[in-house]
């Protein structure tokens, strides 16, 4: 049995994490097929039905321009999910690279890289994001890149810590003794064993990135109208919160459920990936070799 199936077996036992995974899977399907399942056009203005409450025709109501909120939310899910994934992907890539080099080589390389991490951490990243977006025109790609570039430091620290302990382990020494070069040691021997905490951090990070994007869009600095995103639907809701509660409630709930799901999956992964729990598992299931 591979490590993957062991992790899955442990993960399955956590009902909440499983529910979170189901929600995320559903959201991904929705995001992929959004244009096909959306009942209206996301930019289709209907002046006769401005701010109409939820009904059979408009299950989530309409906004101040008479656009269908359900349609806009379905399409907005594409923004949230892709920003979450891609921003975190960038962060994981940078963080893993920096952390690997710092942890593997140690000494001066480590000092320089980790001081750079300290400097990056000292920046209030949200303000940094705002500053960047003030200079370059906001687009979804800029947002992804900026969230990624300001969010890799935790990953770097985790990966570095893993490398510091793993590089002295016997299996790494054995590989070195077999003649493996630095690149093979880093990428084949150490990195695959250092990724568990990264997966966990990345899952939580996706949730954080989704929140950041929503906040930016809410402030009008993210996805620009008329393109829909959960954040900017929420923003239009705040102007009408006394009369049109559905404009705030539904996108708010969508953000809440998505972020919660990612956090639940993250926690499930954290438990399932803990290698200290595997050994006991092996004996429990009677799979001891001889």
């Amino acid at each position: 049995m591979s490590v993957k199936s062991l992790v899955w077996r442990r993960f399955k036992k956590n009902r909440l994490a499983l529910a979170g995974l189901a929600v995320i899977a559903a959201l991904i399907l929705i995001a992929i097929f959004a244009p096909h399942i959306a009942p209206y056009s996301p930019t289709g203005i209907d002046v006769n039905h401005v701010l109409s409450p939820p009904s059979w025709r408009h299950p989530f109501g309409t906004d101040e321009l008479g656009r269908d909120v359900l349609t806009r939310m379905l399409l907005g899910s594409r923004v949230s999910l892709s920003v979450g994934f891609i921003a975190m992907g960038i962060a994981v890539l940078i963080g893993t690279l920096v952390g690997s080099l710092a942890g593997f080589y140690g000494g001066k390389v480590d000092s320089v890289l980790m001081r750079f991490v300290d400097i990056m951490l000292a920046f209030p990243s949200f303000v940094l994001i705002l500053a960047v977006i003030a200079i370059v025109p906001p687009s979804i790609f800029i947002i992804m890149a900026v969230i990624g570039v300001t969010g890799w430091m935790d990953v770097a620290r985790l990966v570095r810590a893993e490398f510091l302990t793993l590089k002295h382990r016997d299996f790494v020494l054995a590989s070195k003794s077999a003649g493996a070069g630095s690149m093979r040691l880093i990428f084949r021997e150490i990195l695959p064993n250092a990724l568990s905490p990264v997966f966990v951090a990345a899952t939580f990070g996706v949730a954080g990135a989704i929140l950041t994007e929503s906040a930016l869009s809410f402030l009008g600095l993210g996805v620009q109208p008329p393109n829909p995103s959960w954040g900017n639907i929420l923003a239009s809701g705040k102007d009408n919160i006394e009369t049109a509660w559905w404009l705030s409630l539904y996108p708010g709930l969508a953000i809440l459920i998505t972020v919660l799901s990612y956090n639940l999956v993250g926690e499930g992964l954290r438990d399932a990936l803990d290698p200290r729990l595997w050994e006991t598992e092996r004996y429990e299931t009677g799979e001891d070799g001889q």
């Binding site: 016997d170 299996f171 003794s177 077999a178 493996a180």
Partner: protein, 333 residues
């Protein structure tokens, strides 16, 4: 002719500071060890835990740099080798570790683990790798049905076999075995020992065999070095050493062997023998390598200490009337 591998006055010190403002201290893990292993010979290294055996193993295999001293492979310093020479050295010298649970990559299949050295040194065509790996597994008594399985699915003995197969993949000239048996059950120990002894006979591989188990060392070794607190205190051909140990520490170590053997064989409790063991065995625990006693490091535990022992450090030299042997003890100099 140059010996296969030669350690010259190896030292490994770890400086550290106790607490933030504590004074700087030095842990002397290995303190001036010289030894050689010739082609097709087995040098046993014996000593209690904390005597610096594992640190020595890592320096001899160039996995760790010594504080001073040198390791010569066929007369050439391994720490000043260029890339190409170092690769040749890695092909010739392999290491087996004590803990087979820690020495296999948990994310790699048995095939990947054993194929790695073959790929690194390009020892087989791509299509022939699987066949070669299967052959190596057969040499250590494992079948090829385990190729796609992961380390966590195996017992300690099976894992140690896999480690040996990995070491054999490059057809090494020397295997440094760092306590390869001590993490295993007694019944499994015998199997692994047989594999190693077959390798010595069949493939004419040399061993630097590190162990605290004298019976195992006696079985396998041509020569023996006894280590105590980072120093070699006695060196000799195996036969002479087991017949007549010279250093009081070696005498003490050996005194406990027959009793342990008898106890393991299930012999009834023998009061006389236990008493004899009690008398000869070194008293108390090995001192910390941070705080090595002055003079002879063994003197606080030595039953035969006399005036010079706590002042002068005895040098490793040939005692009168014992040609070919070396001992670091004032009694013999």
């Amino acid at each position: 002719m140059d010996p296969l591998i030669k350690a010259q006055d190896l030292r490994k010190f770890f400086p550290f500071r106790k607490g933030l403002f504590g004074r700087e201290m030095v842990l002397k893990a290995v303190d001036g060890v010289s030894l050689e292993v010739a082609e097709n010979r087995v040098l046993g290294v014996v000593g209690e835990s904390g005597s610096g055996k594992s640190t020595l193993a890592r320096m001899v295999t160039a996995l760790d740099r010594p504080t001073s001293g040198d390791v010569l492979f066929r007369g050439k310093s391994v720490f000043s080798m260029d890339r190409h020479e170092l690769k040749q050295f890695r092909r010739a010298v392999q290491i087996i570790f004590q803990d087979p649970f820690a020495s296999l990559n948990p994310r790699a299949t048995v095939f990947d683990t054993i194929a790695e050295p073959i790929r690194i040194h390009r020892l087989a065509e791509k299509k022939d790798i699987e066949q070669k790996v299967a052959g190596l597994l057969k040499d250590v008594g494992l079948g090829m049905e385990i190729l796609r399985r992961y380390p966590h699915e195996f017992s300690g003995g099976q894992r140690q076999r896999i480690c040996i197969a990995r070491a054999l993949a490059v057809s090494p000239r020397l295997i440094v075995a760092d306590e390869p048996l001590s993490a295993l059950d007694v019944s499994i120990q015998a199997q692994i020992l047989n594999i190693l002894s077959d390798l010595k006979k069949r493939d004419r591989i040399s061993f630097l065999f590190i162990s605290h188990d004298l019976r195992v060392v006696e079985y396998l070794s041509d020569e023996v070095a006894v280590m105590y607190l980072g120093k070699v205190v006695e060196r000799s051909g195996a036969e002479g050493l087991f017949e007549k140990p010279l250093h009081p520490y070696t005498v003490g170590l050996f005194a406990s062997v027959p009793a342990i053997k008898a106890r393991e064989m299930g012999a009834p409790f023998d009061e006389k023998m236990e008493e004899k063991v009690e008398k000869a065995a070194p008293k108390g625990d090995i001192p910390s390598p941070i705080d090595i006693p002055p003079g002879c490091p063994f003197h606080p535990r030595c039953p035969k200490r006399f005036s010079p022992c706590d002042k002068a450090i005895p040098q490793l030299m040939e005692p009168a009337g014992q040609p070919g042997r070396l001992v670091a003890c004032h009694l013999w100099n």
